[in-house]
């Protein structure tokens, strides 16, 4: 674990963020000048996404020459975590593009606004996974989150959407307060402001002399991040926000916040806390157990599909956190879990946005009753994603659970293993229920044939194929996640 300090300004390292901001500026011009036709906006934003992907690719080149290094006066970091995080966020943008574009198109006169908010939030989260410094981390988190608050309430005519936005904003601000308070406490007690400095400072003064305030500070910072991933007991916003927000945006909102926060958390634990991780064992175990049990308890009797996925998100956050909080190999297993989960999550919300086809936030399980009759392809892909979430073999969900549990067992965290396995059994009950309603149950109800665009069909096929591919041949992705933590062993 060496950090090459490089005070030089290097634009390549923040090029994904810059390219997203550049897209935002062009989109802004589109609004203030003469009314731009829709297709131009579409192509501008899509090229923005592709440009970002290309820039992420450039960052890999930079990493291969410089290695793990910091730029901009130790503000911005280029390491495997930031690369994985950037790639993940860029791919989330690419894969959710069709759903958020469709919804934005429907929200009249606010199309550009929505796109700007989405790209802003993506740039914020990109910055967040890149930052070495807690202040930068906070700025990135806020840019990302505030855009998401607005995005949740974009459908102003809908009361649920307003409620979602307000709730998200109020609870999110509280979490931000806790986060920045944690930074302040850490700074007061140890005079440090960087991720790498925590480790150095604690080594320097010795573990026994570390003031309690700094531990509280670290826990507050972690709590701020756990709020974003909706781990219990910080999950209260998730069901309402998922339910209320325009359906096309939820996939993006859920995936991007989870990806960025977990990557930052993973880095925090691998880089800063790895030698004092056992001090936080109780805290993390409590959060994991609360998340998986609470999530499973609430998910069993949900009648709203989006709320069901929200609570399943709470469970999955618990799973991911259990690995991250165990150690370096756990981080690699959890990253595998995170990536496969995000693929399934994005897939599910793509299906939802295709089915709902409108802005309505209402999405009851009974709405998809009889879906299979006329929409076979959609139902099959939906079933694959749900089975992936449940962790059935032949899907990536099984491999990720297997790797995670193997690592947890190696770390001798038997209590967590038993709780997680218990939740997996319960999971089969509520993950199979929507499939039952959509495909198995005999019903008079028929969901009309939905005309799938070629792009949507391709997208769903790619996501479903990835879910099965990583379930059959997980080697590549496991190697990538191993590579991510290799430099920190």
């Amino acid at each position: 674990m060496t950090l090459v300090e490089n005070l030089m300004i290097n634009y390549v390292v923040i090029s994904p963020t810059l390219s997203l901001l550049f897209t935002v500026i062009i989109l802004l011009f589109c609004t203030i000048t003469i009314s731009t036709p829709m297709y131009i906006k579409k192509w501008v934003s899509f090229s923005g996404v592709l440009l970002t992907l290309f820039m992420v690719f450039l960052k890999f080149g930079l990493y291969s020459t410089d290695g793990i290094s910091a730029y901009f006066s130790n503000m911005i970091l280029s390491d495997p975590f930031s690369l994985v995080g950037n790639t993940l966020i860029a791919f989330i943008l690419l894969f959710t593009f069709s759903s958020f574009w469709k919804t934005s198109e429907l929200i009249e006169s606010k199309t550009t606004e929505a796109l700007i908010l989405i790209f802003m939030s993506a740039s914020g989260f990109m910055l967040m996974v890149d930052s070495e410094n807690f202040i930068m981390l906070f700025i990135g988190l806020e840019i990302g989150s505030i855009s998401l608050y607005a995005l949740a309430g974009l459908n102003r005519g809908d009361q649920l959407s307003n409620e979602a936005s307000l709730k998200y904003f109020l609870l999110g601000s509280l979490a931000s307060c806790i986060f920045i308070y944690g930074i302040a406490l850490l700074y007061v007690s140890l005079s440090i402001i960087g991720l790498y400095e925590i480790n150095i400072a604690i080594n320097y003064i010795g573990l026994n002399n570390v003031p309690l305030t700094s531990f509280i500070g670290i826990i507050f910072i972690i709590v701020g991040l756990l709020f974003k991933v909706a781990a219990a007991p910080f999950q209260a916003w998730a069901p309402d926000v998922y339910q209320g927000s325009p359906t096309g945006y939820v996939g993006y909102m859920a995936a991007v916040a989870k990806a960025a926060s977990f990557i930052v958390l993973a880095r925090l634990i691998t880089v800063s806390l790895r030698f004092i991780l056992d001090q936080f064992d109780l805290f993390f175990s409590a959060v994991v157990i609360l998340s998986v049990l609470g999530g499973a308890l609430f998910a069993t009797n949900q009648s709203d599909l989006k709320r069901l996925i929200a609570y399943s998100g709470v469970i999955q956050s618990g799973f991911i956190l259990s690995g991250i909080s165990s150690g370096v190999f756990g981080v690699s297993a959890s990253t595998f879990y995170l990536i496969t989960y995000i693929i399934q999550l994005v897939g599910i919300f793509t299906v939802f946005s295709i089915i709902s086809g409108q802005l309505s936030s209402d999405f009851q399980i009974s709405n998809i009753s009889g879906l299979f009759k006329e929409n076979k392809f959609i139902t099959i892909t939906f079933a694959i994603f749900m089975l992936g979430l449940a962790g059935l073999p032949l899907t990536s969900g099984f491999v990720s659970k297997f790797i995670l549990i193997t690592n947890l067992w190696s770390y001798e965290r038997y209590v967590l293993v038993s709780v997680l396995m218990l939740t997996t059994v319960a999971g089969f009950y509520f993950y199979l229920r929507p499939i039952w309603v959509a495909a198995v149950e005999k019903t008079e109800n028929v969901v009309e044939r939905i005309l799938l665009k070629k792009s949507d069909k391709l997208l769903l096929s790619v996501l479903a194929a990835l879910t099965i591919y990583f379930g059959l041949l997980p080697n590549t992705l496991v190697n990538i996640t191993r590579w991510m933590v290799e430099s920190y062993l």
């Binding site: 073999p393 099984f398 790797i403 193997t406 495909a439 198995v440 149950e441 191993r482």
Partner: protein, 495 residues
Amino acid sequence: MISILFSLLLVPLFSAMLIFIIPNSRKETFRPIGIAFSLITLTQCVYLLFGEYAKTEFKILSTFEWIQSYGINLHFGLSGISTLLLLLSSLLVFVSLLSIGKDHSESKGFVGSLLMLHFAINGVFISGDLISLFIFFEALLIPMYFLMGIWGGENRRYATIKFILYTVFGSVFIFIGTVYTAVISYGVNGKFSVDFETLSLLSLLESQSKTLFLLFTFGFLIKVPIFPLHTWLPDAHVEAPTAGSIMLAGVLLKVGAYGVFRVSIPFFTEGFLAYKNWIAILSVIGIIYGAIVAIAQIDIKKLIAYSSVSHMGFVMLGISAGGFLSIEGALIQMINHGITAGALFMLVGFIYERRHTRKISDFGGIKISMPRYAAIFLFTSFASIGLPGLNGFVGEFMILMGSYNSYKILTSFAAFGVVLAAIYMLWAYQRMFTGPIKYEENKNLSDLNSRETASVLPLLLLMLFIGVYPSYIESFVIKEAVILSDTIALFMELK
């Protein structure tokens, strides 16, 4: 040989996909295509029967890299009992495709699910490591879920969810056992490899062996099912469509017993020795309990379901007795029960299609309107009871004889199971077939047509063949039974 091994997986998978691709306007082609592909698999299995691996212990033939950095590979191989079970499953898929009625055979999902089920079952029997075993063990659930959920009876939702949750609950223990074994294997070999060859060389502490035996066996015994864990089975059987019942009784129950035989006992023998008495006691309770409950049933399908509990109790008794003869008998009984229970469920399916009822009291005297059906049913019943000269006798006799050395009192009780079987099967036969015709509707029942006769005929021939020439089927399992009983004897001596 390796190419046949993979085609056992790929042919059913490919045929299922083919069925899904064919448009619904050509729905009359579903059954012929399914039958053609299952015949291919059946032919391959028959070829395997004469191959070099049909009479050996489990040999890993092919390795397939899965997760490199954890050192986990997938292994596939063959042994005597695997070959027999593969043959049995292919045969049952073939005959159930032939036997199902028009509303099922012209449904894309039904035929496709059946072929997917075939894929998963074949996978279980050729798996050479714990992970691929677990993958296919769980993958069985999804086609079964659709078969029972979509084409099941009135109360199918309850039965399906019960079936899924029971099995998943059991497989969680297998999963944890697999992870535990992998971690132990990592401590010895430096990689998480759990293939059967590595496991047989792994030396475990007694406590580890006991824990692992309990974890694996609990999961497998739910699937068998053994006495207190059997409650999902009657519900599942009653609600499942005929083809689902045939596969469930014929092959899926064997997956549990196969798991105990293949994994729990050879690798965790110390644990087996510590707990074998309990398994034997539960098996005998299951034999007697299943038979007594079967007597009291008014639903013929439920009767056969409880008789399965009883017959599978014999299998578990034979395995847990651990002697050479009893293990051999248990393996043969697995095959025999697959054939007879499959045939019985198929026969019940035929009459259900005609009358849409399964209540015994709704029939009576139908021997007059359906003579051929009655003869076949009686023949199968005799096989199920264990009449000498038919297959049921061979397995149960060997089990009872082999177990008597280890468990004198238990085996004496188990022998009553055979008598009770005669009571429930023959009494049911008497109420359904003999006497005058009680109801008007039963007067004009059409006898089995040639398709239906053809689909049950292979099973009848096998019953007779195994019954009169048991040493042929014995020659396939003898080596494995010897090896396992030697292992058990070795560990007993060490103790």
